[in-house]
Symmetry: D4
Subunit: 255 residues, 8 copies
């Protein structure tokens, strides 16, 4: 609803090409659908070329299915994140094309359009095996946005050679998502090895003084390496969105 | 038990109109009922015109039913908050008129007297779909106190147009209850849009660095908008009480 | 900039009564003044009938004086809060009518208009002597908004009779601001004694496990008394704003 | 094992009344029994006249029964705290005289000896109904140590008259145990009403910003009232021990 | 203002021995003096036989001197705690008898009456040299209340023999105040060695993970030893009050 | 030191074109300079095209000057961040070309090479006037890396129209840096308005429950808007680096 | 992969004794096995003579069995820690020689080689019975590394004589592991009694203000005793590793 | 005071070789000197061969000089840690041989005896230049205990090649002390590179979410690398003591 658009609208009204009430409707008619318990925002997908998403935690299955129903057909790709197998089944009943990424706990409908695909690659790295579910949430999100994604798992800093052995993969990526719990030191180390943006995702993996991911979160926020930014604990989806946004705008040519 | 009352009492004693022991009883006889495990306070309802309430968490079903029994008949409206369906059933056995608001998890007995009704409207807003249970706790409480209540759900700040599209509703309310988890930014934004009191309710909705609602709580306490005050995390009932108190005393005429 | 206003504007454009460019200016011309380092919002005062305010902490004296200069003449009352004597002196040089409330650390310019005055009374209470500066910040703010204010200081719960002796004052107030540090229990006790809204202000007064006001803040948020809402630690100004907003809208007739 | 005892021992050795090895045994022979997984300390009971106690949380039923077995017969009273009904049943199989205080979750064996009984009374107070289990843990502990105990439940500060109505009970007690969750303000209020020691027990009752009892704990630690000391969250047993220790040593004559 | 007193008052009114207005005055006339910024509570001293006290932190020198002035002559002993040398000098100008305990940072006026003296001894113990100021605050408070006090400083658990060498002193005390910062383990160790009440005072002495006394506070709250209760960090005065209260009521005969 | 480089090196050794010891030197000779107290890393600048930087906090002036000396001449641009005027003066003595950005507290030597300049624009936004120093640290860093930077200050969410009035500027930026203290809600609101990456910088501006920036940090981490990533509190430099990295790689053509 | 090794490799290449590609393989061929979800590091065991270990928490049974399979035969001893009985059963199906230490929750395959055995003794101490599982995790780990281990359980500081009675055992150990929850004071006391390294393990045993082990952790970090270092809460395995590392290198002769 | 010693003592008494009172003196006469405000423990130095130490923070200069005076002549080496230049000067007046390590803020008297010297080397590593003061506190302590010490400073993980270039130094050390603030990741990385004990020292270097060293502390406690143990934030002295204890007992031959 920028100034240019507003100017046009006003000019149309001034020229008698548009009725006052019609202009009012357009000004008011923001592209979201009101389900009462949710306002589904079709605009966001149009604006960002990014999949519509419903975050399933703390919603009833009925609400989730209702939201997916409202999104369906209006967006090429729909993601339901933090979805249990039960939710997958419920969505599957109204949308048989739904696919379940079980490690990522994501239900996906549809595939990214060719026009949304990009060449810039995202590399998703984990410190340990237990961080894989969060990493997969990120990787599936990146792929659903049309960006190529590579995975490099269980290369935590306690055995540095496991990471250093894959320097080539590190260098090839345009964007890196680093997923680590416990002490979360991997983001700093990776940030020091590459000259690309690193999106750090602390996980709640750990015990004792990991305090539900607080330790990894603070480590990543305090990273001495430049080029590191952080998202919420266990927020693989947010990291995936941010990474896809960068890949889509990367200087490399689209296919 | 104010000074005027005390003066009267003493004058009656001085005039021989009241026995010392009778005066003693009156001075002692504060209007609460002692169930041993609970002291039911009939006075509060008389004093405030507000429903009697029993908070069910951490009480046994026997205790809850006992307290409702003691309240019944002495107050036009009784609320049992944080009530599971089981508790509803148990109350229903001694009070068939009981109604269950399942999203709000409130059992309600009776309706507000006409004399308690007011015209000033309360608007309950949520940031997301998951915040609805807490919002409903507030809305049911406001309604039970005799105040008109409107609902505006899922208008979080990440899609600002959803909120701005309802500016009219914002302007019509005398009092606003804003319920939000995660980053809790909605209270500040609403506070900046209206010139009415905003009661902010942080919710425990979220994960990771939301730390059980701490994030939303701190956001709301630090609000730069004036006219915002905060209640405890998930305390929809408290927000509803506060809102009703304001509506009942609002400068608009009662019906 | 509500819908009615928009309709009028569009109708004027449609009727040729308003040029497109002029309408554009009006639509853009939001009533704030851009100083570069600050956007002074004259609209807020117009909208809320509340004093313009500049929060002095973390601003340079030059910035503060510049902001006051921009506000002056556009609002009947201007407050500069958290102002040191040096800032008072600097403001005084450009605005000789400035008055300094030293306990409250507020510089005030101008007096509330008669039309903003109200009859509903605000009572400001403190737990101890050390809480007085925060209480005065609230009291001066309430008074600057045109509302009558009473003070009741050093009536903490450890000597309950000091508070109970003033029950009459408690009953007379339409709104109560309770300011307390250390354990902050006063808000709950007052909330249980009155049937009016209580705005609780935790203070950073204390040591050790008061953790800079955290203890009092948590106490107030957990208050079992209904009708209590909380503002930020030491936020006397915010409490004053909220209280004034209630007093101005209280059901009692204005003078 | 004080200096006087040591002098005697040495004199006996010097006089040839005691063999070196025998003295060594006595010096080494501290009165505890080694079960491998536990060192049962019979000495503590002898020294303090206080019941032997086993804290059941985080112990296996086998360990608990083994410890009770080792204690039995060596102490007039044995308490097993934080005991589930299952644990009660298991103890009952080896000790049929065992009694279960279900609210307090304590299994008790035996009764205090007449010589341990005292006249100084302990009053146990709660803020709410939900605090009763912790209060009962304290009350049963005090009684098991031979001290008379009174109960005053659900007299939280939000309805102050419920507490003030029982001032007589407050004055009669030698020692007071105040048990409260949520905002925990009751300890300060009681501490200001009496001139006796108040032992404050924060409870984990609450939600949101009560943070598992942290709020009540901080409130009690910051109490402005003198004569208040605090034990751990939910530590009814510890408060009971401390209270019994004071009652037993109170200046009033024993029976 | 107990029930008996109330009955007498009412009987006098009934008998015409007391005018209504006079009774009203008496009922209202609670024994505190209102300085505006402070309500000086003479009643507390009468009731508890304990020194009047003014806590100097966060008060202006003028306020402190004013409060001391109001107290003077109405209580045998007055203490001004957390008093800087400057405050001592200011008090000395209106009260030449004032004495300054510099380590304890307490200004004392007057000596305890013989009738307040007791025989039961308090032992104040510190873990380190740096804890002495807090310990002295406790010790001076105990002495000002008329109770004999012993000191045992720098006997922390890292050199256990320093403590065990003074077992006799430990056994002789009726009440023990244990003052320790850093890890605060001393309270548990002392609590396990004696069968007397131990009042634990965490101090803010330490660095790093002592977090301003939090570490010592948590240690003391979690003490496995029975007979340990805790006061606020650095609250030597509170510990002294609690200890004196116990000593004064101890079963040993007064002189 | 990637695999291709290693292969070449080995081939040269195999071909006798490189001596073993020379190869060893090259393998060992990583491009940093060892000052003892610091290892200056010339490689990072070569690798990333980014200014060499020295973080001045907690370093002595001697150390800072020594590090700048070692960097000088080896990098087109050198930044000394968190630099006081004294440090500027000391650097100026050895490097007269040094420039001081006083709001940003950055000393800058040299200008970015034309080859490092890019067209993609960065917009730096603040919630309030007090956040400007952190914002300037980001803006100066972005500019020093050769990227165009715009500023939009004091547009916090409490007066939303100030932000919405600049939607055009929001849309024009490739990358946005949002700097806010207090409740930090601005990042979420901006993130919802644009489809570009938002780098959120919490600041320590605030008081009370802002807890040194914790509140803003948690708000930003919990942002419901996608496309938001966070750096450390007050870390304007880190945000500037991350933003410059994105601008330099943005799909828009370089000049 | 140290410098000497590198020199040899290069010399072999220079002498034509090693092909370039073969050298490349060796340089790249770090001794770990890539299972995709895990990179099993055989090198660590070779390097440290320490058992291969898999941490079972947050891994699927399939992943655990896969990792054990990959380790088997390549290391004399394999440990699976935090293993439930179900995991033991699953491992037992592919490795019938597996033994389950149920208190320690460790599955062990194989025995330490004679060449790894050492004489220096480790003593594992607990404060209470509930700390035994963590202590056993440490003790089993130490034994699996070939070091003799003694156990001394339930000797917490509240009954100091239980500890002091075993001074001989304390003196005989080369290394001590102290495991304690609640207040965690035992580490300081033991640290003061011996002149050997003490490895302190806080446990999450406790309730209320133990905050999941935080209290014990802070106590141990703040220990005034020298010679104390700390590992994560409940990290018996880490303490066992550290202890074994010291024992293996102790100055006493190997068998 | 072990069992053997006790047996001898008793045998001497039994044989009439030792008077009862003399034995009593010996049993009581523990080797510490009582200064009132401090109990100087000469025994510790005798027992551990480690320098006597006085921690200067929170002690008066008079106390420090008094303690040094008491220690002097009874121990070959005396350290005063956290000593300002003023304290150095004051000590120098009574002990002209005192030397001041200004970066480490340690005053040292005397040199380690040849018999205390060992060959096992300690390597002290820092992440940054700002961590050097804490590292020097460790290094000076290690040297004062007679152990050889190497330094490797400013090799943080953001520029990993700086560390990897010194692998030889890492391998040569028997014990490593890793000192790092900010994210503290260096300890994990070093722990993964060596098979020797790593003592991790978090520092308070940093800002924002480093929370005074909490971030580095948690990182180090959560280290995935085995062989890492942690001391308090900024506790260079404690790390030095622990390291020296290991070096002195290392399997390598003494000179």
């Amino acid at each position: 609803m920028n100034q240019e658009h507003l100017r046009n609208l006003l000019q149309q009204v001034a020229a008698g090409q548009l009725e006052v009430e019609a202009a009012l409707v357009e000004l008011k008619g923001l592209p979201f659908e009101d389900l009462g318990y949710a306002k589904v925002d079709h605009h966001r997908s149009l604006r960002t070329g990014f999949p519509e998403t419903v975050f399933c935690e703390n919603k009833t299955t009925e609400q989730i299915v209702g939201i997916v129903q409202a999104m369906r057909g209006k967006s090429p790709v729909i993601l339901a994140t933090r979805a249990s197998p039960d939710i997958y089944q419920a969505i599957g009943e109204i949308a048989p094309e739904a696919v379940y990424h079980d490690q990522a706990r994501i239900v996906q409908l549809g595939q990214p359009a060719d026009s949304d695909k990009c060449l810039a690659q995202c590399l998703v790295i984990t410190g340990g095996t237990s961080d894989i579910p969060v990493a997969e949430e990120a990787a599936v999100t990146v792929a659903a946005a049309g960006c190529p994604v590579q995975r490099l798992y269980d290369v935590g800093v306690a055995g540095l050679h496991r990471l250093l052995d894959h320097r080539e993969a590190l260098q090839e990526a345009a964007v890196l998502v680093v997923v680590a719990g416990m002490e979360g030191a991997l983001a700093s180390v990776v940030g020091g090895l590459v000259d690309k943006p690193v999106i750090a995702v602390p996980t709640s993996v750990g015990y004792g003084a990991s305090f539900g991911g607080l330790s990894a979160l603070l480590t990543m926020l305090n990273s001495c390496a430049t080029g590191v930014a952080v998202v919420n604990i266990d927020n693989g989806f947010g990291a995936g969105c941010f990474a896809a946004l960068l890949c889509q705008n990367w200087r490399q040519p689209r296919p």
